[in-house]
């Protein structure tokens, strides 16, 4: 399992959001993508499962090679890419009209992956993996909207895991949560990263330090630096990185 990004250029309409990104991810472990607002970090992860195209005017050039396959090759359909790559968004987005169970079952059902007992088993496994099972096992039929914000986000993580993804992408998964829920989500990421490659966008550098094995720093659409997290924060190689992580940034 490896991901290589080669010469990735991305546009929104006429304005370019990412310039010549080259980056590769190794099999397991968590990668944090940090940078100031508008630096293109969310755009970058959205390019890894072709969600960028869903934004009007979104356009991508370059290659993203996952397990030897370029997902931007002409013969690849975006939905098959997304079927293998789970994504968790900034705001918890469970489907409010569906029950807790149905939210997790949504992916398998939409893609015809499982039904009946197998589906139940898959939902339970996903909820356990997302550390939510004990809180919701007696109320699977309740509306997802009844859960707290932190629980909703873990429900969304369970939903992403239910399609048995190869990679899990998270776009600022904790930025809309309170400190305790944030802690729970971070714990969860620390567990998940031993089973899946996890790529997490965050604007919180402490969080990057707590969860990530590798950290990448984006600035104004360019990848400035990427490296092992402890080294990255202790001895940044680039001046811009040092300015950003020490808060000396204008």
């Amino acid at each position: 399992m490896s991901i290589q990004v080669r010469n990735l250029n991305v546009w929104y309409g006429r304005s370019q959001a990412l310039y010549d990104i080259n980056l590769s991810f190794e099999s397991l472990g968590a990668t944090a993508v940090i940078g100031p607002s508008g630096c293109g970090k969310s755009t970058f992860v959205r390019c890894l499962n072709r969600m960028h195209e869903e934004i009007e005017g979104g356009r991508v050039q370059g290659e993203v090679v996952i397990e030897g396959v370029n997902i931007y090759a002409r013969s690849i359909q975006p939905m098959y890419v997304r079927r293998r790559i789970g994504m968790v968004f900034q705001r918890p987005n469970p489907i409010p009209t569906l029950s807790i169970f149905d939210n997790v079952a949504l992916g398998p059902r939409l893609n015809g992956l499982a039904r009946g007992a197998a589906l139940k088993e898959r939902v339970e496994r996903s909820l356990r993996e997302a550390a939510l099972w004990n809180e919701v096992k007696d109320r699977l039929g309740e509306a997802a909207a009844q859960l707290s914000g932190g629980q909703q986000q873990r429900l969304c993580i369970a939903r992403a895991l239910a399609i048995e993804p190869k990679v899990v992408l998270m776009d600022e998964p904790a930025s809309a949560l309170d400190p305790i829920s944030t802690f729970q989500v971070e714990e969860l990421i620390n567990q998940l990263k031993s089973a899946y490659p996890v790529i997490v966008v965050t604007h919180n550098m402490q969080q990057a330090g707590r969860i990530a094995d590798q950290t990448a720093f984006f600035l104004q659409g360019k990848l400035i630096e990427v490296g092992e997290t402890t080294k990255f924060f202790a001895h940044p190689a680039q001046k811009e990185t040092e300015d950003y992580i020490t808060g000396r940034f204008s």
Binding site: N49, M51, E54, E56, M79, Y80, V81, R82, R83, R84, G86, M87, F89, R91, N93, P94, I95, P96, T97, L98, S99, D102, L106, G107, R109, L110, N111, G141, E142, A143, Q146, C156, R159, A160, I163
Partner: protein, 300 residues
């Protein structure tokens, strides 16, 4: 010798409104606006209540079983009923829904989900124009399209005319509510690998269902009361007939005919028919909302 009288001024209350002319005007205009809006609301509600009560008072004495089961008597003889009209209205609105709801809903989905650029602008404009056209024009259209080639008035023609009237109402209301479904929900489904069509059918439409139902009910209620387009399509029929290739009766048509009748018995039945029409519309809209779960807050 002078005594200094300490004027013990109370500390100025910062929340005390100043007694100025400007402030008095502000308060007066504020009260005036509230009173005006209350009066206007009271007037609007009073008109509606008067209308309802008047129809109730005039219609209730003539509501009986015969009204629902019997056919109208000839020449204004007392007795008889509006059975064929009630049956016909139900058939016509059903037919209209069969045409109007799928077409309108599909148009709404197109406008909110796929419609981009000039084509969508054009379609939206046309739908708005369609919504503003006097309904008798739709009757004329169905007359040319169906009645003339068939050489006969028919329930089918009436249903088609009413169905076309429903299209713009259903299309615009469903477009509006589909647009309100947050982008995050679509992304949630797309990110799971769902196709666009499945996302729309399984996630977006269910999320907007109560709004869509409201639009559908509105459209059905609207066409249930249409008279003009039926004059030259369904035409009316004093006998029971469920054959949609033949003329068929409708409550608004019968009310229209009876209300200007010289016979008191028919005028009374027109009132009773109006009441039945109102109650039928109420019952249908409640039934549809109940059946589609519009009253429930949570799932299951």
């Amino acid at each position: 010798m002078s005594v200094l009288v300490e004027q013990q001024q109370p500390a100025a209350n910062p929340f005390q409104a100043p007694r100025t002319a400007h402030n008095a005007r502000r308060r007066a205009s504020s009260i005036a606006i509230v009173v005006l809006s209350l009066l206007a609301t009271a007037f609007a509600v009073a008109v509606l209540l008067y209308l309802l009560l008047y129809v109730l008072r005039a219609g209730i004495p003539y509501i009986n079983l015969d009204l629902f089961t019997k056919i109208p008597t000839p020449n204004g003889e007392p007795g008889g009923g509006l059975g064929p009209s009630i049956q016909g209205s139900l058939i016509l609105v059903g037919l209209a829904s069969l045409f109007g709801i799928p077409l309108g809903l599909s148009t709404g989905i197109f406008l909110s989900e796929f419609g981009r650029g000039a084509i969508a602008m054009g379609v939206r404009f046309l739908v708005d124009v369609l919504a503003g056209i006097p309904t008798i024009i739709f009757g004329l259209f169905a007359w040319i399209l169906i009645v003339v080639p068939q050489q006969s008035f028919s329930g089918l023609a009436g249903g088609v005319a009413l169905g076309i009237i429903m299209i713009p109402i259903v299309a615009r209301t469903s477009e509006e509510v589909l647009r309100l479904v947050p982008k995050e929900l679509r992304e949630a489904s797309l990110a799971l690998g769902a196709t666009e069509s499945r996302t729309i059918l399984r996630v977006v439409i269910p999320a907007a269902s109560s709004g869509i139902v409201t639009g559908v009910v509105l459209a059905m209620a609207r066409v249930a009361g249409e008279t003009a387009p039926l004059l030259m399509t369904a035409f009316g029929n004093p006998f029971f007939s469920a054959d949609i290739t033949r003329p068929i009766d409708a409550l608004p048509l019968r009310i229209f005919n009876f209300a200007e009748s010289p016979y008191q018995a028919q005028i009374n039945q027109a009132y009773a028919g109006s009441l039945v029409l109102i109650v039928l519309i109420l019952i249908t809209s409640f039934a549809i909302r109940w059946a589609t779960g519009g009253f429930k807050r949570s799932v299951r």
